[in-house]
Symmetry: C2
Subunit: 216 residues, 2 copies
DNA sequence: TAGATTGTTAATCGATTAACAATC
DNA sequence: TAGATTGTTAATCGATTAACAATC
């Protein structure tokens, strides 16, 4: 739902989304002592076509692969991490410290992708001042002010659908550049803001439809 | 990562994933008393092209739209709900009652999409026998047995990456047809099983890459 | 009627795939 | 060398978009 992005990168969205899968597997191989990898081996593991993996590797690798040998595992991992921003650190805030928001605050895995959630916001008085996953919860009224002061670039929205647009507006007022939206609602934003939707209903749509097709 | 699905429906994956957005908005309009909707109006709201919404509506609607008037809101909602399986009830189990799993167990929104999580599984002794969101937690050893007995078709995986494949195998042994995988790892499955990946890293890849392109 | 919106047919665009020469 | 794997160039395929006649 967010194609109007003038900052589209040279690598396709589809390829970009495959990278974390490759990366995870490459790290596993590296730990197993595998020093070079070839596209056919990776393709087989993921049940993808060789040529697709080859193109993906070519798109991400700064060093050309060696015929017969493939790519140096370490270098490929480094290039992918670079592409995925793992070596940067981007500060983020999260709005909506409910059950989903709380789960994300407790989850430690974002650090590996260069995302550092530094604060959470909510409107429920009983949550304010508390901490979840070591992150303090502030009142949503101070959202844009704090984002602006701390130069936050990423906002994570885990509030109910009805409040999503309001929270979104406050984030943008605070200078947020990219929004990760878990609320099941379309957000209205200026063209220069990236909205990445994580809509579980969209995902369920595929599951349900498949079951209907298959079994009725 | 899951193209080899022989049960592909007539409607494209992309269109299917747009449906929940349309549906949510249509319901909102309906509550506001709007009795008919046209593709151009919806397109404008979502910043999509008119023709794309028109095609999507044509793909889902059982009744043709009326030139000048558009579609009857109620009928369109009904057709979309039908397509998305909202009128069915599919039983599901969830494996991994940690923070993310717990959040999903507590979330009430899946019922609207015909998904009914009837039980949860974990290996941590302190969790077994307890309830989260009204769902009882059983030991993972009984996963395939219970799935088989209760004819469960959907499995939700929220265990750590290392355990994902094991849990997946047990689900398939228990007769599960579709898997919603939140673990950041590729699952190896037979071709007739649908795996829908909800990989947050894949999502973050887009966000991070955008920020790098834009601001370095 | 005039005009908005529809459905249909054809064009475009980009991702995937195929074919093959280059190379270690 | 022979053969596996690479990078390159061209073909295919499907989603999106454009153009336009049909219709209320």
């Amino acid at each position: 739902m967010d194609k109007n992005n003038p900052y589209a990168s040279l690598i396709s969205v589809q390829a970009l989304q495959r990278m974390p899968y490759y990366l995870e597997y490459l790290k596993k191989l590296k730990n197993g002592g595998v020093e070079t990898v070839s596209a056919p081996v990776i393709a087989k593991h993921f049940k993808l076509k060789e040529i697709q993996v080859r193109k993906d590797f070519a798109a991400v690798s700064t060093i050309k692969g060696k015929p017969r040998a493939g790519f140096v595992t370490d270098e490929l991992i480094y290039n992918m991490e670079e592409l995925l921003g793992c070596h940067n650190v981007n500060k983020a805030v999260l709005a909506g410290a409910g059950s989903l928001g709380g789960a994300l605050l407790s989850y430690g895995g974002f650090a590996a992708y260069g995302i550092d959630i530094i604060a959470a916001f909510d409107i429920r008085e009983d949550l304010i001042g508390k901490e979840i996953g070591g992150k303090k919860i502030f009142h949503a009224d101070s959202l844009s002010e704090i984002c602006g002061k701390l130069k936050i670039r990423i906002g994570i929205i885990t509030v109910p659908a009805e409040q999503a647009q309001t929270v979104c507006d406050r984030m943008i007022a605070g200078g947020i550049q990219a929004i990760w939206n878990f609320a099941p609602r379309h957000l209205n934003t200026p063209d220069n803001i990236l909205v990445q939707n994580e809509n579980m209903a969209s995902s369920l749509a595929l599951l349900s439809n498949h079951l209907i097709e298959k079994l009725g």
